[in-house]
């Protein structure tokens, strides 16, 4: 057996195993993206189950004075104001034990501030009345398809993720892309060596390429 043949066999075995293991690893992520694609494509989105509760939220005087007392806030620079709002957000998040991707700067308007705390399957909208020191928490449970939709859309292009859960899912989404690209390349390699599928495969590959180019031409040039 020549060295070349040994190398080819090892490469073939390695590619086959890579394709198999990589495919089995990402198959559940691909299902999430594929199923949510169909729903996003048609705007199918069931309203989430919603529950609302009101809870007491004591706010320390030093945090409060920096966000509602005009004698203090009027002299603040935008940076100082942002820091004061952030202190309020941190206090709300810690006191109410909220976990997730937080949206909301903590700006107080008419004695109220609002936060959205989102994680896959669950979004909490927290409206805080800083004068009465109460928080109205609206919980939205998104269900199976809503969670898939959330995972498909996040992290997304519009906001840098802050929460470790979103960052971790971002890594998984990236990994899904890299593995998918690897699967397509290893798939082509493996197909080339299946003699009985070579001719039909070329026809199918060509048909796919022609339809892809034709659609892009219609979308962007014609």
């Amino acid at each position: 057996m020549t060295a070349k043949r040994t190398f080819n066999e090892a490469l073939d075995r390695f590619t086959r195993q890579l394709h198999l293991y990589g495919g089995l690893f990402v198959c559940s992520f691909l299902l999430i993206f594929a199923i949510s694609t169909i729903r996003l494509n048609h705007g199918w989105n069931r309203p989430p189950d919603e529950t609302t509760i009101t809870v007491a939220l004591p706010i320390p005087a030093d945090v409060l004075v920096d966000v509602i007392n005009p004698q203090v806030t009027d002299d603040m620079t935008p940076e100082e104001q942002a820091a004061a709002w952030q202190a309020l957000v941190d206090h709300i998040v810690t006191t109410l034990d909220l976990h997730g991707e937080i949206a909301g700067a903590g700006a107080v308007r008419n004695g109220r501030t609002m936060l959205n705390v989102a994680r896959p399957g669950l979004v909490k909208r927290v409206e805080v009345n800083v004068r009465t020191q109460e928080a109205i928490i609206t919980e939205r449970r998104q269900g199976l398809f809503g969670t898939m939709r959330y995972l498909h859309l996040n992290p997304g292009p519009h906001r840098q993720p802050q929460w470790i859960g979103t960052k971790a899912w971002g890594w998984i989404a990236d990994a899904t892309v890299y593995v998918t690209l690897l699967l397509t390349l290893s798939g082509i390699y493996l197909w080339v060596f299946v003699r009985e599928e070579r001719k039909a495969g070329i026809v199918v590959l060509g048909a796919g390429a022609v339809s892809f180019v034709a659609i892009l031409y219609a979308l962007m040039i014609a």
């Binding site: 198999l20 694609t37 339809s211 979308l219």
Partner: protein, 212 residues
């Protein structure tokens, strides 16, 4: 003496479907995968859209619906694309947007002078890839009161996305069948990689909501 050809078994057909689907969808998958990656990392590129503007006098059509009016004006301006009509047109204007994955075309017609301003925003390569990823014609972000796909290429692209999604699901099912077939050959690696994917999926689908 020639032996009669045996019909292909389920195993063969499964592999054939897997190969054919994969090859047919190859370019679609590359675009969707790469654009998804780029959308997750907007900071990787800093390609700014290129904006230009032209003005032209148009005849205001006597059409009944806003979509018909927009389509007529688009013919006069020589532009094509998916029409977006938002419900917040200012007094004395007829505004709409005509979108293609690589181009935003904002049209504003002054109803007193019939002067149409056409602002073109060329999204460049990265923006175009991102738009292809999300180009359905009926996105909530468009804020259209009555959202429909009014351009044939949008309908074709939207259909293609459905087809690719169904194709991916079939690819997964056929790969699971092949994985099952090869379980005896690679039991440990197959089970480990599949189980790892499932555990991670379950954690993100349900675990984060319940465990905190």
């Amino acid at each position: 003496m020639q032996t009669p050809r045996r019909p292909a078994s389920i195993k063969k057909w499964n592999r054939r479907i897997h190969i054919w689907l994969g090859l047919y969808m190859l370019l679609f998958l590359w675009v969707i995968a790469v654009s998804g990656l780029f959308m997750n990392h907007p900071g990787w590129f800093n390609a700014q859209p290129v904006r230009t503007s032209v003005e032209q006098t148009v005849m205001m059509p006597d059409a009944v619906t806003d979509l018909e009016k927009a389509t007529d004006i688009m013919d006069q301006l020589g532009i094509t694309g998916e029409v977006l009509i938002r419900g917040n047109t200012p007094e004395g204007k007829f505004n709409f947007t005509c979108v293609r994955p690589n181009l935003r075309q904002f049209v504003s017609v002054d109803l007193a002078t019939f002067n149409a301003t056409l602002q073109l925003v060329d999204l460049q390569l990265v923006g175009t890839l991102g738009d292809l990823h999300t180009f359905t014609g009926v996105r909530g972000i468009y804020r259209e009161p009555n959202s429909i796909r009014d351009w044939l290429p949008t309908r074709i692209w939207s259909f293609s996305m459905d087809a690719v999604a169904i194709g991916v699901i079939l690819m997964v099912l056929t790969s699971l069948y092949m994985g099952w077939q090869r379980l005896k050959v690679h039991p440990l690696g197959s089970m480990a990689s599949f189980a790892l994917g499932i555990i991670v999926t379950v954690y993100f689908m349900w675990g984060l909501a319940w465990l905190g």
